[in-house]
């Protein structure tokens, strides 16, 4: 049974404006997203800016209300009465944000920021601070030196370690890292990534790692999910995704990565232009306006996320047998 199971998650934001602040349009930020995360794995989530990665993270964390869909943690439905309450879910799942400075209250010493969560969940002040000191040590910051410091007295990497310590304070099972290392220098980023790997082993964690840096995602993930304009286009084991991507968007993303080998340079950018407006996405397959293999059926019918190969899934007519695409298998296998 997967640790976290997301089914048909949808969130549309209303665009207000005009005369009486009426709703003019709808941003389809997250549209019918489904995936599962197994215990102990790291799920990497990649996609361009605006594809809905961060919104999905906030929906799973229940920081914003979803329009429809179900979320199950360890089999229990979240939100409804007999299942897990929001407050209990937060004890199991925590999040690290991208902006390390804005994530910390500038008026509180960092040890108080870390101890806040256990304190409000019933742990006494002394016990909460003790746990905070232990976590400071676990993330590689000397408690004597760093406990009483304020966020403005720390560097970006140190602050992000504090944020990680804060996320671990409630001893969660899942930690969502929303572009947690994107704002750090490369050397600091490497240190924090190694720290995350150590902590995962030490505390038996499960990660959902959101990033737009494909190299980092390859390094840290077990499985990767690729999103485009609010939909999941491909999901699968990391080696399968990186070695033989099935979806044209994934293929384009991966070939857009600058090559480290001067003998095999990336000469042409395979993907051009910007993603279309999420308020009025293209009909059928949302990627068809930038896809070199788009055909009539792509305009008419939106592709479903179907299983392929070992444990992956693709949402593309080319991989769907019997879809009508010229490159797809002609008959549906029984």
């Amino acid at each position: 049974m997967p640790l976290l199971s997301v089914e048909n998650l949808t969130k549309h934001f209303a665009v207000k404006g005009g005369w009486l602040n009426r709703t003019n349009g709808v941003v389809q930020a997250v549209d019918d997203v489904s995936f599962a995360v197994s215990n102990g794995e790291t799920l990497g989530v990649v996609g361009e800016s605006g594809c809905g990665k961060s919104t999905t993270a906030r929906l799973i964390m229940h920081l914003i209300a979803r329009d429809s869909g179900r979320i199950r943690f360890a089999g229990r439905l979240v939100g409804a009465a007999p299942g897990l309450s929001r407050r209990d879910l937060h004890r199991q799942m925590q999040m690290v944000f991208q902006d390390s400075y804005a994530s910390l209250n500038p008026r509180l010493p960092v040890v108080t920021s870390i101890a806040f969560a256990p304190f409000i969940h019933g742990l006494g002040k002394a016990a909460a601070f003790k746990r905070a000191m232990q976590l400071l040590e676990a993330v590689g910051l000397e408690p004597l030196q760093f406990a009483n410091r304020y966020p403005h007295e720390l560097s970006g990497g140190q602050r992000q370690r504090i944020n990680i310590a804060r996320a671990l304070a409630l001893e969660p099972r899942i930690v969502i890292l929303d572009e947690a290392v994107s704002a750090l220098d490369k050397s600091v980023e490497a240190q924090v990534l190694n720290l995350l790997a150590d902590l995962k082993a030490q505390f038996d964690l499960t990660y959902i790692f959101i990033s737009h840096d494909l190299n980092v995602v390859r390094y840290i993930s077990d499985r990767v999910m690729v999103m485009y304009l609010g939909k999941v286009v491909e999901i699968g084991p990391v080696q399968q995704i990186y070695r033989s991507p099935k979806h044209p968007y994934t293929q384009a993303l991966l070939s857009a990565m600058p090559s480290m080998d001067p003998r095999r340079r990336t000469l042409r950018a395979p993907l051009s232009g910007d993603p279309p407006n999420p308020i009025s996405p293209p009909s059928g397959c949302r990627f068809r306006t930038r896809c070199p293999f788009a055909e009539k059926v792509c305009e008419a019918v939106p592709p479903e996320l179907l299983a392929v190969a070992a444990s992956g899934a693709v949402a593309c007519h080319m991989s769907a047998a019997g879809s009508g695409h010229s490159r797809a298998d002609k008959t549906v296998a029984h």
């Binding site: 209250n105 010493p109 040890v111 806040f116 969560a117 969940h121 905070a132 004597l144 966020p151």
Partner: protein
């Protein structure tokens, strides 16, 4: 990882031994100490406060008894170094005792408005939605009246006297404080650390107490201190119009009114209460400016 000896057995002890960081308020305090102008005006205000509170020590004559024979003596008269007013009362005594009323009517309304307006504003700012709409629209209704007219209307209905003056001025100052509290709270609500606190499962009241208040009180406090200077002038204005403190109480605005007829006879004496109002109001203004500058610490 460090050796086990560092692992805190007693976290509170280690916490005490740990290096202290420099908090935001400490840095504000240090910047304030560097600001000579603010220090000077604060010293003047403190001196004024001491003199006003311990008035009997600083004055010789009774502020309420006067002799018509000694009326409108000029500045520098033997025994009355600031002269006497139109009924013969010593002006220096009346200024010092009058300071009590004026300062009271200047500071207390702002303090009360800060409590009430601050609470309502932070509530509106953090809750948003319907609560915010209700509170802000009610505030807009009060805002439609210029503050002096509002104060006059209220004292006109309730009658004169120190209590009604304070009440009227409090009501006049609640709307601006609500507005700034709501604005600052609404901004703070969207910051990442508040979202992180919500993700920890904290209830709204807890979040306000630990995360919103300490970020919001600074700007609100600065704004409130800037209102004190206006409040002193308004209080004096109300007394000048006969709607505030009643005779024979000493109060700077009232004294200005009473000495109006004497302006041609003894202009210096007649202008003295006005000078006092000006100096006090100016000092509060400068102090509030200095506080605002000190708080503009780039974190």
């Amino acid at each position: 990882m460090a050796d086990a000896a560092v692992l805190p057995a007693d976290a509170n002890l280690v916490l005490k031994r740990a290096q202290q960081g420099k908090s935001y308020w400490r840095r504000v305090w240090e910047r304030l100490l560097d600001d000579k102008v603010t220090l000077a005006v604060t010293a003047v205000l403190l001196l004024l406060l001491v003199m006003v509170v311990f008035a009997p020590w600083f004055t010789v004559h009774d502020p309420y008894t006067g002799s018509v024979l000694r009326r409108l003596k000029p500045v520098g008269t033997l025994g009355h170094w600031l002269g006497t007013d139109e009924v013969g009362r010593d002006l220096w005594s009346r200024m010092v005792y009058g300071g009590r009323m004026s300062l009271l009517a200047g500071v207390v309304p702002v303090f009360l408005a800060l409590l009430i307006g601050g609470f309502l504003g932070i509530l509106a700012g953090y809750m948003g939605g319907f609560v915010n709409s209700v509170i802000m629209r009610l505030t807009d209704v009060l805002y439609a009246f210029p503050s002096i007219l509002l104060a006059i209307a209220i004292t006109g209905i309730l009658g004169s006297g120190l209590q009604n003056t304070i009440l009227a001025l409090t009501i006049s100052f609640i709307p601006p404080i609500i507005r700034i509290s709501e604005s600052v709270s609404a901004q703070t609500r969207h910051l990442d650390f508040v979202e992180a606190a919500r993700a920890s499962g904290a209830r709204p009241l807890t979040i306000v107490r630990y995360h919103i208040l300490n970020n919001v009180l600074g700007p609100i406090l600065v704004y409130a201190t800037s209102l004190i200077s206006i409040c002193i002038i308004l209080a004096a204005g109300l007394s000048f119009l006969g709607l505030g403190v009643t005779p024979p109480s000493a109060e700077w605005g009232l004294m200005l009114n009473n000495l109006r007829q004497a302006l041609w006879v003894s202009p210096l004496v007649a202008a003295l209460p006005g000078v006092m109002i000006f100096i006090t109001s100016m000092c509060f203004n400068l102090m509030s400016d200095g506080l605002r500058q000190a708080m503009d610490v780039r974190l």
